[in-house]
Symmetry: none
Subunit: 184 residues, 2 copies
């Protein structure tokens, strides 16, 4: 439990998530069905929003409710498919590989992403402390921080920090991956 007032945390979180979606204050208020003034005061840290107000905002921002009330969150690491450190199971024909143990206090959102060959998808830097784990399931990716892109094939794993500009580009049709977004 953090001891900081939740109001400042919520204010910062709402503004952060709103920026992330590229929405203006008025636009977010309109979509959430609340008054601009309400949202303005909320982001200013003054006021004491009700649950329904916060809920409406969280739905539009497409984030779990709790992300608004809890405080926020090196180089490229690549593990090729054949380099996985396999931990065999003794009882069954079953093997497991630990790719990335979770440090305490981080949040990790699980995504699946797909792309077709074409222009790269670029992402602006996120807040410090973020990171992206990528595990390729099909096709080939060319991705990573700007200037440090790596090419990955099926089974390959890569991690790179998300607080620098980075990009994803598919080199083959039907390119897919499991993406684990990490932030504090």
């Amino acid at each position: 439990m953090d001891r900081t007032t939740p109001l400042a945390t919520i204010a910062a979180a709402v503004r952060r998530e709103r920026d992330r979606m590229g929405l203006s204050l008025g636009e977010l208020a309109r979509r959430a069905g609340i008054a601009k003034s309400t949202l303005s005061q909320l982001e200013a840290g003054s006021g004491n929003p009700s649950v329904e107000t916060l809920w409406a905002i969280a739905v539009v921002l497409d984030v779990p409710f709790s992300r608004l009330v809890d405080p926020p969150s090196e180089g490229v690491r690549v593990v090729r498919a054949q380099e996985h450190v396999v931990i065999p199971s003794e009882r069954s024909p079953f093997t497991g590989t630990l790719l990335a143990a979770s440090p305490p206090g981080v949040r990790r959102d699980l995504h699946v992403i797909t792309a077709e060959p074409g222009p790269a998808r670029t992402a602006d830097p996120h807040i410090p402390g973020t990171g992206e784990h990528l595990l390729v399931t099909a096709g080939r990716w060319l991705c990573g921080p700007a200037g440090e892109e790596v090419e990955l094939g099926p089974g390959d794993y890569a991690y790179f920090p998300g607080d620098r500009a980075h990009s994803y580009r598919a080199l083959e049709p039907g390119t897919t991956a499991v993406l684990l977004m990490e932030y504090r």
Copy 2:
């Protein structure tokens, strides 16, 4: 992301945590510095509490704020490959799917697992609060809590709590998956 009304969730969570601590309604209200009536209406599900009210309650109950607003996750959740809620990107041939947003305070370890057809790999129950996210990359799995096993193919996603006995079994050669172990 859940779309149920948060009021019922909060009402149930507050009552549950209050019972857990063995506090009466009046006693909790007194310690939290709020009126009995306010708490009564809150637990009845009527009303729309403010953040400060909820915060005061969470502090006394000694639970993270988010535990009051996040619905309890129970049972097996399956998202078939073709059921993924795709969030398209406007600028590039790129799509993403959020399968499991991370609640605060949990740890998630990223594994890759493979298995061959044969006896199932069974796992004893872990501590409460754990869970396992599985995303199939190749082959077919039959897995889940004992008695609730589901069959999953490439692209399918499943989550089930890890505090009950569960098992994994491969139905085809070369069956692999990304496994995200979650615990608090």
